[in-house]
Symmetry: C2
Subunit: 155 residues, 2 copies
DNA sequence: GGAGATCTGTACACCCTGCCCAGGGAATCG
DNA sequence: CGATTCCCTGGGCAGGGTGTACAGATCTCC
């Protein structure tokens, strides 16, 4: 599925995204063309989705993160609700889920008070019946995929 | 906080991460030095954390995502638990939270059966008392920050 | 043992990057 | 109001990276 060289390449790019293909080849001890081919294939296969800028909401003033579990009215299905949620900028991510709730959203706000405003926006969404919110106080493990990449490596 | 030009720049880089500074300046209709300066400042201020490769766990074989709420034993605090969770590659993200539970983790697995293995690993973590898992069935809104960037723009 | 895939080393043309500078606005401050 | 400061522009320069192609050496799997 993934190679040791691939894993090291991803690790290197994660640690220092600014370096180019040539520098990668030097650090990894392989030819430049190899790095280029690997990168192309990783992107082709979808392992690497892209190199988009990693924006920090906190630096934008959105310093509070919360997770909202939604119960929605069964008629109409999830899609219309998801579409309306997507129209709210502070809604960062939406999943449909198993279990007690129907959907799980990650949202952000400029503060606890602002968070209330966002939650109100969500409650007002057509089809949403009940919400339950937990606030993220700290993030001991920020989002990461590197350990996964290493774990997925089969030499 | 953030400028319209900044927002357009981030939007452009999100849409086409491969383009360089010069191409950005052409598309935005500003001087190259300006783009360079903006980018530097955005990174300096932490708005852009970096340009790391965006790895898709699904393409690595981890096709199931789930959210696990943990209750932990109060003695000892969160940190030791977080450290042990961080040692599990399939644990992608950990937050401490308000409300019924104490921690919220995002985890992935190669399938529902593999997910059970990961959950067992978490249950076995010293200090974890109870867990409650919801599986993500679909992701109508994948993680995004662009709308936030636009919302944060003050001209 | 052979076919197909992959890596290496190299070469070439192009143009992008990082950096610096002088000048012109525009906004802020006293 | 004048002065200061900040930011953008347009330009130039040196250096090196990128995309691409190709032949030969290895490797791998059937």
């Amino acid at each position: 599925m993934i190679d040791d060289l691939d894993a090291r390449l991803i690790g290197l790019l994660t640690a220092e995204p600014r370096i180019g293909v040539l520098e990668c080849s030097r650090r990894l001890g392989v030819a430049r063309g190899t790095v280029q081919a690997r990168l192309d294939r990783l992107q082709e296969r979808g392992v690497i989705r892209g190199f988009g800028p990693d924006v920090d909401p906190a630096a934008l003033g959105y310093q509070v993160t919360a997770f909202v579990t939604l119960e929605i009215r069964q008629v109409g299905g999830h899609d219309p609700v998801a579409a309306r949620l997507a129209a709210i900028p502070e809604v960062i991510e939406v999943h449909t889920i198993t279990g007690g709730g129907d959907m799980l959203c990650r949202i952000v706000g400029r503060g606890n008070q602002d968070l209330q405003r966002v939650i109100d926006l969500i409650v007002d969404v057509e089809g949403v019946q009940r919400t339950s919110t937990v606030i993220a106080l700290a993030t001991p493990v920020p989002q990461r995929t590197l350990p996964l990449v290493r774990a997925a490596t089969r030499p």
